[in-house]
Symmetry: C2
């Protein structure tokens, strides 16, 4: 049977198992949500409409003020900490006879947007779409097709978890005594830009954040659609590489066959970094990878195989390193080219000149034990071994250009963020998995989530029990244009958070 | 002795031979020019200040009207032909007892500009600079340091030859009976964009252009600084190549190690097209190259060796294919990457997503007998042999993306322009060389100039004797930012054109 047929058959089988079992407990949450769908959707829509590109401090201040008001409405006491930069919003709500204290970490900033690429609506003018097209929402409408999607920057990443948490609290209070745990919620406004402000807060105020358990709310669910718990994050590192041709752009007719072609040099340099299957060929790149434990391997074996679903949904005939499942590969470092540019880019009309330079922005995702500086240094070492004279933080001098046939500038992209991974086996991890198990079906358990969020602040800096929970749909286009949230994921997110806020730990 | 020392010694030697012998004949021209320097510089400055990016028809119309007025002032009868697109300007001036008729081809459009890259002044706000810095020109100044340079788009390419021609006519009339040949001057306003309007004119009005000899005025002088005659042009072809990853941009953390990386795929594809020395490895790419004749090889041997000058001036430690001289390599096809782009380019802030596509704009320069369509097809065939499913003129369908692991869209970039080359040996070629010989030193004779101008309209379509003459400095940055003209080249250009307009043919 040809591969394609196998894949489609698998995809059909998965389409059935992908239906999430009903989250029935704690009782009454789903009913409460059904009665409040309109208010919840409006709350998220209003929040997404506040522009939140990380680093735009003015916009971020508006988000922070709006969020503080929302948490106060639900009975939290709120501090906004930091400024004039983007503040951290810190909200506390205590329970009567609390079982203990949970800290939730969520971020409210979003990735930069190229509005011209958005096809549904502008990134900060959110809109609802069904599979059939745009949905004009009647002012009287109270309920929504759960398959409809809300489009807008941060609809999924990471404002949906904020609205899910707010409404889980409201639902628990409306249907019973409220959360059985004291809650601490820390909202980071710079997660997409290095979390500097959160890190300062974490260093200054450990008492505020060090509790019984930290739960980070970020990232997509596993593509099977099942609730997903993760026990680590990939972090991030990376470099920008520029290679140099002649001292200026040169007429391609007069100097073609003579002028060095920096785009071609860069192409060859990048091509030397991975084999045809996508395995990184930079010396020692995988050296420090910590092997998976038996429990981690078992959890990955139990995760539904979604290779065929991914291949179909993303129209990919062959992924990188096709012999290994995505869930396993998340536990190995990556090397991706985020940006290439030479000649001023495609927006420049046809200019017949060989450019003077060519540049690529490379990103590394890591796993526990890998260090951003080390991975970046391995890349720079590789560039050097390809015969390049390497400079950092400056352009080469004219004399250096006259002396070295191959020159590369290799600059680290910011300070990077470390990867983390905690044990799946401790009682806190077990309690979270149990709280999210429905009808005997446990959540998908991933040793490592793709994102770069500061999981390690809790797990490594504080040494706290830490887990991550994913709520949003896997095909949410986060970081790209047309980011979206499937409404059913928001409904289930409310139920999942209500379960966590009332969970039992042995 | 290390290579670098040899090169610098050669460069020092060349600095002496590079001094152009005084152009002393016809008599009186240099004196006339010295008396009119201010008016000539003002004339060129005013002309350069009219924006002329090819394709901006409104701007081009202003250029055409201004040029028509300038030629009428010198006694030409003028037609502007074509519209509403960019017109061709055709100017005629007859001589008493004319030796025959010469047709001069010049273009008045320029390459696109990225004003942010210009460091001396804006592209259409021309300025004068000395080696020491910007020169503020006193209103009373009548003469100029010949080493000063005028900066602006088309200061060299190709408005300088227009002003040189106008003033050669004025000088000949002021110092004697005027040109001894009837003159036909055709000014192309779309040379940088395919010359469609000129081609229509050439097809409709062969009587206007078919004369005894065509002289194209374009391109830089040989880097030795000597007057330069060329007998062919490289033409141009090329393709745009896009390769495809997943159907959308994917979060690099969640999908890194799984999502195909189109930038990396493109890098590998491009890297397969040239060896490390810059020799094209695409099958049959050099197949149709016509070998140089004995006369051509001799002419190239006689051209000063400027490799060391180029290396120093352009800060290049090792050119492509360093075993061969530039002048020889101009007679072989080129493959240059003009533009690479993925991830929206460097102007997009750090977005952590693996792009869905990556694109490169490739250019081919040719030589006589190579055909744009054939060279483009050789590239597409090479892409196919690298395992790519190739589409043209459209994006791949979702089904195609699900089926083929490697997909490339390969689109020809316009219709291209053919290369041309005529004999160096005929009496017309000899007459031009003789007219430009000074103190026994002949001009540099190149079988092929780098540019893509429609030399072949005259040499191939009309079957006319055709030669090209270069006036401007080799380091004029044409097609790039900071395009400039060394004033001494303008002065000598006037003398060269006066010589051509009074030349004798055996």
């Amino acid at each position: 049977m040809p591969t394609r047929t196998i894949r489609l058959t698998l995809a059909a089988a998965l389409a059935v198992t992908a239906a999430t079992p009903t989250l029935a407990q704690p009782p009454g949450i789903a009913d409460w949500r059904r009665a409040h769908e309109r208010a919840i959707v409006d709350e998220l829509t209003t929040l997404v409409a506040i522009p939140n590109v990380a680093g735009n401090d003015g916009d971020m201040k508006k988000n922070a003020d709006h969020l503080a008001a929302l948490f106060r409405q639900r009975g939290f006491s709120v501090e906004t900490v930091g400024g004039p930069e983007t503040p951290v919003v810190f909200a506390s709500l205590d329970a009567v006879n609390a079982a203990g204290t949970l800290t939730f970490y969520i971020h409210y900033d979003g990735q930069p947007v190229d509005a011209s690429q958005w096809t549904r609506c502008q990134p900060f003018a959110p809109c609802l779409w069904s599979a059939a097209g745009a949905v004009a929402v009647d002012p009287a409408r109270q309920q929504f097709d759960p398959e409809w999607r809300l489009y807008g920057r941060s609809a999924s990443d990471d404002k949906a978890p904020i609205v899910a948490l707010l409404n889980a609290v409201a639902a628990l209070k409306a249907t019973g005594p409220g959360p059985t745990w004291n809650l601490r919620v820390v909202l980071d406004g710079e997660e997409e830009a290095g979390s500097a402000n959160f890190r300062r807060f974490a260093t200054a105020r450990p008492q505020a954040l060090k509790t019984d358990l930290a739960i980070t709310l970020d990232g997509p669910r596993h593509p099977s659609g099942r609730p997903t718990v993760y026990f680590g994050v990939r972090g991030g590192a990376g470099v920008t590489i520029t290679v140099y041709g002649a001292a200026g752009d040169l007429h391609s007719g007069n100097y073609g066959n003579w002028a060095p072609d920096p785009s071609m040099m860069l192409a060859k340099l990048l091509a030397s970094m991975k084999d045809d299957d996508g395995r990184v060929t930079i010396q020692d790149f995988y050296r420090d990878v910590r092997p998976l434990t038996a429990a981690e391997r078992r959890a990955l074996d139990e995760a539904p195989d979604v290779e065929a679903v991914l291949a179909r949904d993303f129209a990919v005939a062959r992924p990188e390193r096709p012999e290994t499942r995505l869930e396993v590969k998340l536990n190995e470092p990556t090397l991706s080219i985020l940006v290439m540019e030479s000649g001023g880019g495609l927006s420049v009309p046809g200019r017949s000149a060989i450019p003077a330079t060519a540049t690529a922005r490379l990103e590394v995702r890591m796993v526990k034990d890998l260090v951003p500086e080390t991975q970046n240094a391995l890349i720079a070492g590789h560039v050097q071994r390809q015969g390049y004279f390497v400079v950092t933080g400056r352009d080469p001098t004219t004399d250096e250009r006259r002396t070295h046939a191959r020159i590369a500038r290799v600059d680290p992209r910011g300070r990077g963020s470390a990867a983390s991974r905690v044990s799946m086996d401790d009682r806190w991890s077990q309690a979270v998995v149990t709280a999210l198990t429905r009808d005997g079906v446990p959540p998908v358990r991933l040793p490592t989530l793709g994102g770069g969020l500061p999981f390690g602040t809790f797990s490594d800096q504080y040494g706290m029990p830490t887990v991550g929970v994913s709520i949003v749909n896997f095909d949410n286009n986060q970081h790209g244009p047309d980011e979206n949230l499937r409404l059913q994921n928001l409904w289930e997110g409310i139920e999942m958070l209500a379960s966590l806020m009332t969970m039992r730990v042995r």
